[in-house]
Structures are given as C-alpha cells and as structure tokens.
C-alpha cells in the first residue's frame, strides 16, 4: 500500500497546498498551504464553528477529496488510492470518535467496538495479536476505559453519553490504528467528565503510540496537548463565527 516511500514517511499526516470547496458552494472552505503531524503526535485543533475543522478531518480520512493539493497519511498519497482504496486505507489506519451518537443502535457494545475489525483485515489481525482472542481484547480495552462488565450486555441506547463515548473510544483504538481522529468527542459531556474522558483517551494513545488529532472549540482542553493548532493559522480562508 505504501508505495510512495518519500522522505516524509515518518509523518502521520501531511497536507501540501490543499484547497477544498464543497460541491455547490460559491467559495472555498479550506486553503491549507502546509500542515503536518508526526507519528504518535497528539495535536489539538481549535477554531470557531463553521471554520472547516470537520471538513479538514474529512479530507484526512479520505472521505472528501481536495479540489487541489496533496493529502498524505502515513506517507501514502490518498488521491493515488482511488475511492475504494481510500475506504480500505481509512479502515486499516484510522480510528474515529464523533461528537455524539457514536454507536450503531442495533449492535451490542462488543459488536460496536469490533466494527473496524469487520471491515479491515489489518485491524482484525492486529487486534488478535493483542490477546488470547478477539473477545478478550475487547474486554481488556473496555475495562481500561472504565466500562464495567455489567454494561456490556446492555442495549447501547441505554448507556449514558459518557459511556457511549468511551465505547466509541475503544472502537477507535482497537486493532492499533496509527491515527485517531476525534471530532469534538467531549462536547456532549459535562465539564468534569470532559477532562476525565480526555485523559483516558490520551493515556491509551500514549501507551499504543497512536497519533491523535483532536478537534474542539473548548480551549481549556488544549492544556493537555503538547501541540495546539488554530485553524486560523493553517487555513488561509477566514471563515466561521466565534
């Protein structure tokens, strides 16, 4: 998969001269001359609502394709992959945590955590290497994220939002992807839980050596990150209300 073995292969993410315009929009949303992130780095991205944070994450995930410029993840140029290739790449290398409603309502907690392993052979293989069997790995992961066993068999709808976010966290982490993208995962939590959740996530990322790209407009959380990036600083297009 990694054909482009260039000098930047150490970088988890690299954007060069990226421009993006939503289909039908009259102006561009993003113009990012340069942005990069190394392996295992933890970056906090802040910015006002509507400035294009989620759009940036979509580009990195290979769900959106830039109108111009290159997006490289793990040294791999996404636009060289084709759309099916990008989907596979995303499954193999990236874990996601969304703001809310992170779980598939008709799957059990364990099945929700295992979704990436169903779409990616690589994640499945790597998850299996972490323990005796798959179930065991999921259980260990859930336990480390403070989800006690009594919750595992409950319908996911009945979990609290904090618990749901932690299940999503386990799903993002399973199979050791190189990069985790979190799009305002804490905004639905109250402030105490926010910090607790963030620390759990950071702990796991550090112990797995996973890079974390964390988006939020809650500047307080930035303290926990070695590096903070403001959208205004990387995006040449001024947008969004603050």
């Amino acid at each position: 998969m990694q054909t482009t073995q260039d000098k930047h292969k150490m970088l988890a993410i690299r954007l060069e001269n990226v421009r993006f315009r939503w289909p039908g929009a009259e102006s561009e949303t993003l113009h990012i001359p340069h942005f990069s992130m190394s392996q295992g780095e933890r970056v906090f991205i802040s910015g006002p609502s509507g400035c294009g944070k989620s759009t940036l994450l979509g580009l990195i995930a290979g769900i959106l394709v830039p109108t111009e410029g290159d997006v490289l993840v793990q040294g791999c140029a996404l636009d060289s992959l084709g759309s099916a290739g990008r989907d596979r790449f995303r499954g193999d290398h990236i874990g996601f945590i969304f703001q809310q409603f992170n779980l598939v309502p008709y799957l059990s907690v364990v099945e929700n955590v295992l979704i990436p392993c169903r779409f990616s052979q690589r994640r499945l293989k790597q998850a299996k290497e972490q323990g005796k069997n798959l179930k065991d790995v999921v259980k260990m992961l859930l336990q480390r994220l403070d989800l006690e066993e009594t919750l595992w068999s409950k319908p996911v709808r009945t979990l609290s939002i904090g618990q749901q976010q932690r299940v999503a966290c386990a799903r993002a982490l399973i199979g050791q992807p190189e990069l985790i993208i979190a799009d305002e995962p804490t905004s639905a939590l109250d402030s105490d839980r926010r910090v607790a959740f963030l620390h759990l996530l950071l702990e796991e990322c550090i112990s797995q050596g996973t890079a974390l790209l964390f988006v939020s407009h809650d500047e307080v959380l930035a303290e926990a990150f070695p590096r903070t990036v403001r959208m205004q600083d990387i995006n040449k297009i001024e947008r969004g209300e603050s």
Binding site: S54, D87, D92, F96, F98, V104, Y106, P116, R118
Partner: protein, 420 residues
Amino acid sequence: MGHFGYLWQLACKSAWNRRGTLLLIVFSIALSTTLLLGIEKLRSQVRENFVQAVSGLDLVVGARGSTLQLVLYAVFHLGSATNNMGYDQAQAISQKPQVAFSIPISLGDTHRDFPVVATNDTFYTRYHYSQGKSLRMAAGKKNKELLDVVLGAEVAKSLGYSLGTKIILSHGQGGNAQSEHKATPFTVSGILAPTGTPVDRSLYISLAAMEAIHLSWQNGIPQNVEMDAETMAKLEPRAITALLVGLKKRSQVFALQREINEQEGEPLTAVLPGVAMNQIWDMVNVGERALFAISALVTVVGLVGLVASILAGLGERRRELAILRSAGASPWDILWLMAMEGLLLVVGGTACGLLVLYGLLALCAPFLAEHYGIYLTLAAPGSGEWLLLLGICLAGFLASLLPAYKAYRLSLSDGLTVSL
C-alpha cells in the same frame, strides 16, 4: 466471516431492530403475494379441473343448441338445462363403428343440491378422467337393484352418508326442487373414490331408475302407478340429456362430428369438449387478465410501501451509516446494506405470503369444492408460481435499489459529519 456475510448480519440486525414498522411492510408484501399467487392458482386449477373432466371424452352429443351450454350442463352440471335427445338416436350413435364407448347421461333431479345423474354401466367402466384414470369404488359396488344409488366422494363426505343409507331424491334443480320422490327411496350401494372432477359431486342411478321414479309423475304431478319391480328394471328412457362418446381413433372425431351434425331426423349437436373449453377460456380471458392486473397492482402498492418505509427510515440511519463509513465501509457497502434490507423484507414477505396462501387453500379447498366445484390440489408451487415469486422478489430488490442509491449518495455527500 466474509465481507458480505457481515453486511448481511448488519442488515438482519438492523431490520430486526426496526421490526415494528417493517412487519407491516412484510405483511403487505405477504398479502399481495397471496393475492397474486392465489388468483393464479385458482385460474390454473379451474382450467385443469375442466380439462381433466373431459380428458377421456371425444364428443358430447345432445339436442341441437348452444355447444357450450351442452358441455357445461352434460359434463359439469353447470348452467341451465338443455333440451333432451331421443334415446333411440343415442343408441344409433353408439352402434356406429367408430365409437369405442358411449355413456348416456340423463339429468334433472337433485339431492340436497347435488345433481343426480342417471347413466348405465359403461359409465363405471369406461369414463376416464385426468389422462386415463378410471373410476374406482371406495366402498360398496355399483348399483345392482333398481333403487340403488352410487355417491360421488364429496357427496358422501359432506352429507355423511355411508353404505346402506336411505335417501330421497328431489324433482328438479336447486331452488325449485320443491317436490320429492318420497315414494321411491334409494339405498346407497357404493361410494366412488375421489377424482377431483364433477363426478365427486354427483349421485349416480340407473337410467331405468330415473324412468321409474318419473313414471308416477304426469305433468309434474305425482300419481300412484303400481308396477312390479321386474318390469320397472327393464324400463328404458324415451329421452336422455346427452351422450358422452369415446372413439376408437381420435382422428375420426371430425368426421363423426360432421356426420352427427348433418344427419337427417332429429337435429343433434356433437361437440368436441376441448373446443368448447377453449371457447370458455376465450370468454373468461379478459376477466382473468383484469384480475391479474389488479393483483399485480396490489403487489406494486406493496413494493411502493417497501420503498417508502426504507426511505423514511433512512433519515435516522444516516448517523449509523456514517459510523460504518468511518470504519472503512465504502459507499458501495452502504448501497448493498440497504439493498439487502429490501431483499430481506421482500423475500420474508413472499415467504409469509406463500405460507398464508397454502394455509388458506387448505382451509378453503372443501368450501370451494362443495360450492363451486373447484378442486384445489395442495401441490408444491409449479414453475409458473416460482417464476411469479421470483418476479416479486426481483421487483422488490430492484425497488429497494432506489433507497439504497439514495443512501449511497447521502453517504458520499454527508461525509463523516451528519448533522441531526
């Protein structure tokens, strides 16, 4: 577990999760399947019944009149009575060298709304139905005494008669069968095995018996006529309703038909029952097509409901589809997931419909046989029915590609951020 296997599992779990709404859809597809297949089944069974009943006959001969009416009345005991033909004429025809056998039929009386057929022994030995099967006695034997009667299987079953039961015949048909042949009670001497033809719904007496019970009637009024049994047994009818004819060689049928139609003396009609059947099919064809069109429309309505409900559910599933996308699912996976759901519903629906249909058939078969003379066989679906089922499933699958395509488009445009 294969990729598609997982998508199937997701589709099933998702459908099960929304079973409340989806059950209604399955129900409506089941109903339309039942309707479509039921009508088709009824149609083909009715045709088959008719064809089986005349399969052993080459000609039906009766008094000049409508050919269709003659066949319907003489063979199926349906419709209004035809004029009689002279018994001597019938005997002349049966003497003809081309004729292998001939069965005289005299109708007119009934018993509890079942037609009474007066005939002779040839009927028991030579009448064939559904490609060469001959009549068989389930119990007892054919009538020996003058006032013996043989029952069709359905008659015996629905009236609960057995050998030795004494029964009274009524004069005339249906509603105007006011007067009964009280003086001449018949004894059940035999019961025929089921045939799936109108034979099952008839009572059989001898021609002499028919003549005897009407001897005492003059101008519709019962009279007291004393006669000893021996003379009565030798009675011959003056007229009969029709003569059913089987030929030695089928190729001679047109020649004989022309000969009878053109012969001098009493004007007669000879009909090829198959030709008369075709006339009926031509007549009912329009109705059949209309029925088929209506049930096809009902199926379309069911499928529209399917599409509508999947589309309606799409809104609240966008989130879940985005989650799958984030975990590596391609837009095609999303399309398949939705299409599988449609397929699941339509296959479930048709399967339920099939079950309901066979349940209904089993329930209604006795009723239909008793009241309409339609004999339903609970055979496994034939190739035509499988084709219909396949057609419904295919149509449902294709229809569900519409919401599937919508989901595909949504999953492309939504990206990972679905705002609810």
